[in-house]
């Protein structure tokens, strides 16, 4: 996948804006003041989970070797190619829930009518026109980011290198004494 959602856990304040934005972007009207009275209610595809004093927004990781695709008996779960998001074809889905059980992150859900499964589509409609996924765009602290994986890794490397350098410098002062 070219781009992926990464979360900087320290920045997440658990405001759940991403949850609201997710439900909203998957609503019929896509307008908050309208969506709140839609029926069935718009459904969110990600959840902010508490983890000690931190909180982490959890959604589909779009695994490269996706177990949900493997177990789906009707091939309702699919992807257009390598690096593409894992999608669900609601017409094919029989609601057997194999994918729910096999997902290691527990981020696949049942639709409100119970007839199919609902999952993150990585906001395909938005990313097609160059926009970030709705959850990322809604994050007020920038804890969620939609980044090129190679760029994210490079940034992580640079950060680790800076830390190592700082530690070394500190230690050398100690040794110098």
């Amino acid at each position: 996948m070219a781009e992926t959602i990464i979360v900087e856990v320290r920045k997440c304040l658990a405001c759940r804006s991403c949850e609201v934005a997710c439900a909203l972007v998957h609503s019929r009207s896509k307008v908050l003041s309208e969506a709140v009275s839609e029926s069935p209610k718009p459904q969110r595809m990600l959840t902010v989970e508490a983890s000690g004093q931190f909180a982490v927004p959890m959604q589909c990781r779009h695994c490269e070797d996706a177990p949900c695709i493997k177990v789906c008996p009707t091939s309702a779960l699919y992807r257009h190619g390598p690096n593409a998001p894992v999608l669900i074809c609601r017409e094919k889905c029989i609601g057997c829930k194999y994918c729910l059980l096999t997902c290691p992150f527990g981020v696949i859900d049942i639709t409100r009518d119970g007839r199919a499964v609902a999952k993150c589509d990585l906001c395909l409609e938005r990313t097609k026109v160059g926009e970030e996924p709705a959850c990322v765009a809604a994050c007020p602290t920038g804890a969620m980011q939609f980044v090129e994986l190679t760029e994210a890794l490079a940034e992580r490397r640079r950060m680790a290198a800076r830390q190592a350098g700082a530690t070394a410098a500190e230690k050398s002062v100690v040794y110098g004494e």
Binding site: S17, E19, V20, S33, V36, S37, Q43, R44, C139
Partner: protein
């Protein structure tokens, strides 16, 4: 962002672009930085009242549906609504209290710079309040009236005295629903008590108290503010003035007064005419001293003195960014802290003047009633001194002529003259359908909405359909900027029936009725229109609707709620009504409340569709009154005449 998306007014567009080029920040930029804004807050489903929280309810049903205390979404939204109404009521009423204090001080002779400018109105109010007026001086009467007014805030028993002005059926409805307001402070305190953790947890009961709290504003604090201000500073009479940033002068000392209470601004206007200060201004090279207003202060000053209006709420930063403002003096409400930042980019001296309202980094010059004129002269002096520090100026040329200053009294005077002042001609023309009904367009300017666009579009749509429009607050200034308060231009846009009446009487189709506390003038006018006869027995019978489509303030919500509880349909913008998260609250405010009070809320962001909602309501009321039916013209014989019953 494109300045034409931010403002429908050319002058504001010019200054927004100018600020953009210089990298200076304004409210629109800060709004952009605040994006995205929290969906829980926008729906009113978060609660920060106790420290078991903060809690929020998932509006789409997947997450938690109740707070830690068990409060459901209906309770949470209703509590937020009630607290906002209480805050709005506090703002108007604390403003009223300041005026009442000056009023009493003036009566006692402790405020030599203030006096009774309108003894006729004082006598009328004294009669209403049961104050003896025979063989007493104005000061004696004013003292007793002022003391009664002050006691309205904290009296331990009894109802708000001004509610007596409402039609009897209206008062009966309030009594039946248990919402006749008691002391103003009491309703606000009770609102905070009910909505704290673990007290009132029934959305219906919370919203009913919101009505009572709001009525303590509309028929209490705010109404007293208008009355006492009229007596202290003179009741407004319609007069001409200029509106928009173009009123700033390139060759004079420009002073802006901004805020709400006329206590400060009246003195500044008087001080600016001081010959010694004028001479000093001339010595510094200026041709004179030009005072202009912003926000409700502007409405107060133009309606009493014809002082020009520089702009509405969102123009406060823009005015300073013209580089032409030597001094801005502010008092209370709608004063952005951002002013301090923009003033630091220019030579403009910014002063706070009341103990209730301070801003870090801004010089505070306390205004007290005993030494008001001395302080005002000091402020004007500082402005004159500052003229020499002025850099390049960029004043947009736009300004429009407006007629402002309509009151209950002056509208009746326009309709019937000095000896036959009456609403009769208005009632007759509503009954015969030349005028379909009345609409109030009130309130703020919000950077989420293109500046002035919705107020003015709504006004145009309504007058085109023969609805007489009354405006107050920042909506008035929006109408002024777009020539809707200029009778000659606005009449071209009015429907033929409305136009005919306006031309015969000599008024504009959009009547500027003052500041936001002056919305109470409309309640009084409505009650007198009912009393005039032919249009039902209660305010809720009138073909009347109100709208505030650019609201920002809790004050707007309090105003909306007191109009609704007085029997009027009120339309707010859907995106600016942060209480939509509860289905039951929506159902009550948009429908159920009409059974209780005859008025209701509606939400609509599009001004043309909002006009449709208001017109449908007006026509429904007309149908109910039976004035939409065509009547055959009947020629009565003498016999038939004798048996006619005269009511």
């Amino acid at each position: 962002m494109d300045p034409t998306k931010r403002s429908s007014d050319k002058a504001a567009q010019d200054i927004i672009s100018h600020m953009g080029r210089l990298g200076q920040e304004n409210a629109w930029d800060r709004l952009d930085r605040q994006q995205p804004q929290c969906g829980f807050g926008r729906l009113g489903v978060c609660c920060r009242i106790c420290t078991m929280g903060p809690c929020r309810v998932d509006p789409f049903g997947d997450g938690p549906q109740v707070g830690v205390c068990g409060a459901d979404v209906d309770t949470i939204v209703a509590r937020n609504f009630l607290r906002a109404v209480a805050a709005g009521t506090s703002a108007h009423s604390d403003h009223a209290r300041s005026v009442a204090e000056v009023f009493v001080a003036a009566a006692k002779g402790h405020a030599p710079d203030y006096g009774i400018k309108d003894p006729a109105k004082l006598k009328k109010l004294a009669d209403e309040l049961g104050v003896e007026t025979e063989n007493r001086t104005s000061a004696e009467i004013a003292l007793e009236v002022g003391q009664i007014a002050l006691s309205e805030f904290g009296k331990s028993e009894g109802e708000q005295l001004m509610t007596r002005r409402a039609p009897a059926p209206r008062r009966a409805i309030w009594r039946k629903r248990g919402v006749t307001p008691r002391a103003i402070d009491r309703e606000v305190v009770e609102a905070l008590h009910r909505s704290t953790m673990g007290v009132d947890q029934d959305y219906g009961s919370l919203l009913t108290h919101a009505s009572r709290t709001a009525l303590a504003d509309g028929w209490g604090g705010a109404m007293l503010a208008s009355e006492l201000q009229d007596i202290l500073f003179g009741a407004p009479t319609p007069g001409r003035g200029d509106v928009n940033l173009g009123v700033l002068k390139s060759d004079e000392v420009n002073i802006i007064v901004h805020g709400h209470e006329p206590i400060l601004s009246e003195m500044v206007v008087a001080a600016a005419e001081d010959p010694e200060l004028l001479a000093r201004a001339k010595r510094t090279g200026a041709k004179g001293i030009n005072v202009a207003g912003i926000c409700c202060t502007a409405n107060e000053l133009m309606s009493r003195h014809g002082v020009p209006i520089a702009g509405n709420f969102l123009c406060q930063e823009l005015a300073i960014a013209t580089g032409a403002v030597e001094m801005m003096a502010v008092d209370v409400q709608c004063v952005m802290q951002g002013l301090a930042q923009i003033a630091s980019c220019y030579h403009t001296k910014l002063f706070t003047t009341t103990a209730k309202s301070r801003i870090p980094g801004v010089e505070h010059v306390p205004m007290s009633e005993g030494t008001a004129m001395k302080t005002a002269k000091e402020l004007v002096g500082r402005a004159v001194e500052n003229y020499k520090n002025r850099g390049p100026v960029n004043i947009p040329p736009s300004k429009e002529t407006a007629v402002i200053g309509f009151t209950n009294e002056s509208i009746k005077y326009m309709l019937g003259g000095k000896f036959r002042a009456s609403y009769r001609p208005l009632n007759d023309n509503i009954m015969n359908g030349r005028i379909r009904g009345l609409a109030a367009i009130v309130g703020c300017s919000n950077p989420k909405v293109e500046l002035d666009y919705t107020h003015t579009t709504l006004a145009r749509e309504l007058i085109r359909r023969d609805v007489l429009v009354l405006t107050t607050g920042c909506a008035t200034i929006a109408c002024g900027k777009q020539a809707l308060l200029n009778p000659r231009e606005a009449l071209e846009l009015a429907g033929s029936g409305l136009r005919e009446v306006c031309e015969a009487v000599g008024i504009a189709p959009v009547l500027a009725c003052g500041s936001c506390v002056d919305n109470t003038r409309m309640l009084v006018a409505g009650s007198e229109i009912v009393a005039e006869g032919g249009l039902g027995e209660d305010l809720s019978d009138l073909p009347l609707a109100g709208a505030c489509l650019e609201s920002i303030s809790e004050k707007a919500l309090a105003i909306g709620q007191y109009f609704v509880a007085s029997g009027v349909l009120v339309v707010f913008s859907k995106e600016l009504f942060p209480y939509l998260g509860s289905e039951k609250v929506r159902e009550y405010l948009f429908a159920g409340i009409e059974e209780d009070f005859g008025g209701r809320w509606a939400v609509e962001s599009d001004p043309v569709r909002a006009a449709e909602i208001m017109l449908a309501h007006i026509e429904r009321k007309r149908d109910a009154l039976g004035i939409n039916e065509r009547r055959e013209r009947k020629l009565y014989s003498m016999e038939e005449r004798r048996v006619l019953e005269v009511s």
